[in-house]
Symmetry: C2
Subunit: 106 residues, 2 copies
Amino acid sequence: MVDGWLPQPATEEIELVKVMHALGDPVRMQLLSVFLDGKEHGCDLSGLGLDHLHKSTVSHHMRVLREAGVTATRTVGRNRLVQLRKADLDTRFPGLTDALLTAMGR
Amino acid sequence: MVDGWLPQPATEEIELVKVMHALGDPVRMQLLSVFLDGKEHGCDLSGLGLDHLHKSTVSHHMRVLREAGVTATRTVGRNRLVQLRKADLDTRFPGLTDALLTAMGR
DNA sequence: ATCACGGTTTGATGCTCGTCAAACAATAGG
DNA sequence: CCTATTGTTTGACGAGCATCAAACCGTGAT
């Protein structure tokens, strides 16, 4: 019933070096590849090759991404919906998410 | 008299996650801000606020950047000339260095 | 109220990394 | 040849990080 957003840095507070650090991990990079479409995603990571990871480990990586300002997480019921903060990132670092989208994905 | 290039990954071998990891450090980020002009630079880091760092520490960071494929280092005499591998990075990850240049610097 | 579900938090462990210090290597100059 | 310069390499140390496991917490269903 609480249904709100998890804590995250304001747009102006997003730091490039922290974003880079957040993306400098294979697991988080793979998570990013899912979020790059900009849509909301559940925490079901089946079909990602992340089955071997403990749920608390994934939760940790999700937190790193969120605290770096890369993603935003919304609580609805007992689920979490995660999405890329594309607009905010484009404001702070124009062209960055586009470059990532080009480099990854297709 | 040997005057050659220090070992570095081939263009196709440059991995995005390793580049991100290399850039996920404040010191290396500051070094990058110097190299973003694409020109060759000596290892004189005066006026960068890196005076407090030991020379071996800077050498370490230079190596990380080079092994990630971010920079290329040339040996001339007893000096090292370092420059951004802009063409190679643009080939692998189009728009990335431009986005970094926009985000940092001016 | 009780239970199951989805996810977080805490603690512990091992590995990686940033830093310094000292030794080393190669080169330019006397 | 000797010395100074420029930067690398090695070793050591401490901090940080990725991972797991177990406990915990809010929510929805029974």
